[in-house]
Symmetry: C2
Subunit: 199 residues, 2 copies
DNA sequence: TAGCAATATTAACGCTGTTCATGAATTGAA
DNA sequence: TTCAATTCATGAACAGCGTTAATATTGCTA
């Protein structure tokens, strides 16, 4: 029956939304089955009628965050004609999202998230950031800013570099200030983009 | 009295060693005050006579791992005269340590480690890897492999890139195989090292 | 309206970190 | 050596956790 399915999906959404709300406001460390159920307006055991376990619920929340990030990235518009600026803005927006929502970074990369359940794994795309920036890099090739055979390695290095910066910034021993983070992001991109080996 | 201090330090060591052992064998998720105390041969409440709380104890264990890593890195010897090979071996050893001890990576970068207690913070050096590799990069400058004014940015990029790779590899959604990890490590280093801008 | 199926709930279990009162052991002085 | 004082190890207790099973309540159909 379709109605049943709809109702079921609605209640699942109540739990997922309650989860993302708690993560954003209080951080992933403060999530608990009882708190989520309370915020959703149900008893704690009811969650297990809609999700196999907490990890299952958490991964659905993770999907929400990943989609939100994709939304943020897709709204980046070109400020000028310089593809390098577009590229920089993309990475800045990516980093900025996590700086404004540190709880989300902790949740996606550092929390007690186990392996994703099968149903979620199917919906998991490979890195949103990578795909988004590949298009911009393609444009850099068109503008002869980088050589064509450098497009892939440059994309990989930038991708890895950005996540390394985030990891260092959010590491328990905070050895990277926000200012230093953005400085490195900028200079590193400049450095790598000037690395075209035409030959 | 010195004897007291010695005895106290010994018992602290029992707890720390029990902690690192459990982390290595079972992973940071399985650490608990009661398990550590059991392995150390004391009651769980005794820990609080020697450490302010679990976070305090965990950070002393973290110091042990960081020192072990420094030990590993210091044993890297030059395979040939090519400083780039030395550099690569350093990063490979760094990555390899975490691949062989994934629990340690999870513990240092992804676990529930809170902010370090004051006493520990004083003993925390900035990135062991960075310092170690700065020397090798200096040699690269001497061999005219990279320009002098590129030494610092290249070091930063390599450092960030390596940690980004580790983060992606150990992320909950594992989108990076071990083979791909080492491939990227190699090609990225090659790419960046060829990026000298003499001007 | 009665009965059945689906769903929500409470109780319970074995964990967790932490605190506190208690008891044992060790030390230093008389 | 004996006694007092101090240090230190300990188990009980507390509030919280994820999860399961049995129970209560709801909603639908005949």
């Amino acid at each position: 029956m379709n109605k049943k399915e709809l109702q079921r999906e609605r209640i699942r959404r109540y739990f997922i939304d309650a989860t993302t709300a708690i993560i954003k406001s209080q951080g992933p460390a403060h999530i608990s089955v009882r708190k989520v159920a309370d915020a959703a307006g149900y008893s704690y055991a009811t969650i297990y009628n809609y999700f196999s376990d907490l990890n299952d619920l958490l991964w659905h929340a993770a999907l929400d965050f990943i989609e939100e990030m994709a939304q943020v990235l897709s709204q980046i518009r070109k400020p000028g004609d310089d593809p390098v600026d577009v590229l920089k803005n993309g990475y800045r927006a990516y980093v900025n999202y996590y700086l404004e929502n540190p709880s989300v970074f902790f949740f996606l990369f550092r929390s007690q998230l186990g392996p994703p359940p099968e149903e979620v794994e199917e919906r998991l795309q490979s890195s949103i950031l990578g795909k988004q920036q590949a298009l911009v890099l393609q444009e850099c090739v068109s503008h002869s800013i980088i050589a064509e055979h450098d497009q892939v390695p440059v994309g990989e290095i930038l991708h890895d570099m950005v996540h390394g910066l985030l990891l260092m910034y959010f590491a328990a021993r905070r050895e990277l200030s926000q200012q230093e983070l953005f400085r490195r992001l900028d200079t590193n991109i400049d450095f790598i983009m000037q690395c075209t080996h035409r030959g």
